[in-house]
Amino acid sequence: MAGLTLRNVHKSFGKVKVIHGIDMEVENGEFIVIVGPSGCGKSTLLRMIAGLENVSDGDVLIDNLKVNDKEPMDRNIAMVFQNYALYPHMSVFNNMAYGLKIAGLPKSEIAERVRQGAMMLELDGLLDRKPRELSGGQRQRVAMGRAIVRQPAVFLFDEPLSNLDAKLRIQMRLEIKSLQQRLGTTSLFVTHDQIEAMTLADRMVVMNEGVAEQIGSPLDVFQKPETIFAAEFIGSPAMNIIKAISDGQSVKLENGTILKSLTQFNGEIWAGLRPEDLIPDKKGKIIMQIKMVEPIGASTILHGTLKNSDTQIVSMVQGLFNPRDRQPEMSFSISPEAIHLFNRDTGKRIDN
């Protein structure tokens, strides 16, 4: 059974089209992450599902019921906002209970639901506090508590972690994941952070300029990016994308380097090489002129250009690499399976 269905959903503001037709089926209990750069339409999509924006064209179905014309409160959803949007004058208890009070639930049930939600989120001792007396992480929990007590069919998260500091963000990420698994509620989570996307998602939607570039499990997207955009957006440091020509057996990079490949495709392409797939190899054919060395702990990132060209290239090698030991040139090899090929005109993946 589908928890949420999008059918050819469009959105325009006046003449400006921001979402160009998105189709998706979300299974009950699935955790979907919508990821993309700012301005790609991911928040607009979420807000359309919430009922905070009108759907210009297409249908939104929640629990197989068309909700296009329903008010947010009638859609059986709950939402967690980036800035939490807690009511500043209400106690934690009242913040969590407000929607239930409006819905006219009996007092005893409200109290019970809030108590359970608060226990789950370890907010028990804080129910009488005002939002301003809470830390960032606690506010975040109250915002989630407000969503949980509604017991909705779908949770909507709009970049809920981006106002937290790095350490707390990782902790809350884990908490959201385990909470969602315990409750089994269908969830949509919007973020621009690819690591959040990778770690949280059952499936992720990579969005760019109002289009879903790829919908798939994190590993799928990482291992088989459908488009150049998905390839560059997921993975850190980003995949190297280099102009190349394929002759059906090998790939010739723009600086003349020839790499063995598995494709039968003939013609102009983009070759995608992940930095971590470049293996230091004295006999390797890819020769990089090193410009900068960034040690990041367990591994080291090397920035430079392909020999005999201006093409920027980045590689990541395991282990510590003393910047003072850097050589002017290093050579790398790459296994044929690790080369991603994309159509030069459409940017679409060319399968081997």
Binding site: A50, L52, M73, F81, A85, Y87, P88, H89, I102
Partner: protein
């Protein structure tokens, strides 16, 4: 820019000297008014008047409170203080109510001609009653509101200042709070009562102080409006106690009345200083 670099030495003391002189200049007329309100008229009209309070405090203040200027032109100060309290409260409450609701409509709704309404209201932003005084007088007279509290209050609440300030404040309410309320199922009036009014409390209080003082200190309008002494407000009433060129002004009583006329707004300003300053200086944000 606090935390100046020069903290001690001569310039530090000069700073205090400068400020203290400013304070003394401001206080000087107030002190003499107070002294005059505690002595006999004889002591005042034969200069130089004393510089230290006398023993007539109770005498002068009770005379002003109960008799006014002994039945010449104005009512008792007690009556006038009551009138002024009614008028100032009415103006402050009236302004806040109509401007809070209209700012709510303008900011949180989209309806036809919304911008025209906003501009119509905004046009009145700085236009004081003094400018349109005669025609306004005619309007109020034609409604039969001369010598009434309504006549004293309503023309003075037709100003956009408060509407504009509330509009500015509402603009700073995060969109997400409104959205959260919508998701929680709050209809507009529910949002208005449960959320907007509570989060505007300090703004409402600050504006109340400013509008109360504005209403309390009105002079020209009540001067024209009230021919019946029992409807006098205290500011105009005190002014009328002052005799013309040839009359003898009962200065001690007038000064006692003046002090009583200015004390309520001064107490309000001083005791609610923080709110008042915030309300005042928020205007330009």
């Amino acid at each position: 820019m606090s935390g100046m670099v020069e903290k001690r030495g001569i310039s530090y003391w000069l700073t205090h000297v400068g400020l203290t002189s400013g304070v003394l200049v401001l206080f000087f007329p107030l002190w003499l008014a107070f002294v005059a309100s505690t002595v006999t008229n004889q002591e005042v009209i034969h200069p130089p008047m004393p510089l230290w309070p006398g023993d007539q405090f109770l005498e002068n203040y009770s005379r002003a409170l109960i008799e006014g200027d002994s039945g010449q032109t104005s009512a008792s100060v007690a009556r006038m203080l009551f009138n002024t309290t009614v008028v100032a409260t009415g103006i402050a409450v009236g302004k806040i109510v109509i401007s809070f609701t209209s700012a709510f409509a303008i900011v949180f709704f989209r309806f036809p001609a919304r911008n025209i309404f906003f501009w119509l209201i905004f046009l009145t932003l700085m236009l004081p009653v003094e400018v349109r005084i005669l025609p306004t007088y005619e309007v109020v007279a034609s409604f039969g509101l001369l010598n009434t509290y309504s006549g004293l209050i309503f023309p003075l609440i037709a100003s956009a200042t408060a509407t504009f300030l509330f509009r500015q404040f509402f603009m700073t309410v995060p969109d997400e709070i409104v959205e959260a309320a919508r998701i929680d199922g709050a209809k507009p009036m529910r949002f208005f009562i449960d959320i907007l009014i509570p989060i505007s409390r300090t703004n409402i209080a600050a504006l109340f102080i400013i509008m109360f003082i504005y209403g309390w200190n009105q002079f020209l309008w009540p001067l024209l409006m009230t021919t019946d002494p029992s409807m006098n407000t205290v500011i105009m009433g005190v002014e009328q106690m002052i005799g013309g060129q040839d009359d003898v002004t009962p200065w001690p009583v007038v000064m006692a009345a003046s002090i009583m006329a200015m004390l309520p707004p001064i107490i309000v300003v001083i005791s609610m200083q923080k709110l008042f300053i915030r309300g005042l200086t928020d205007r330009e944000k």
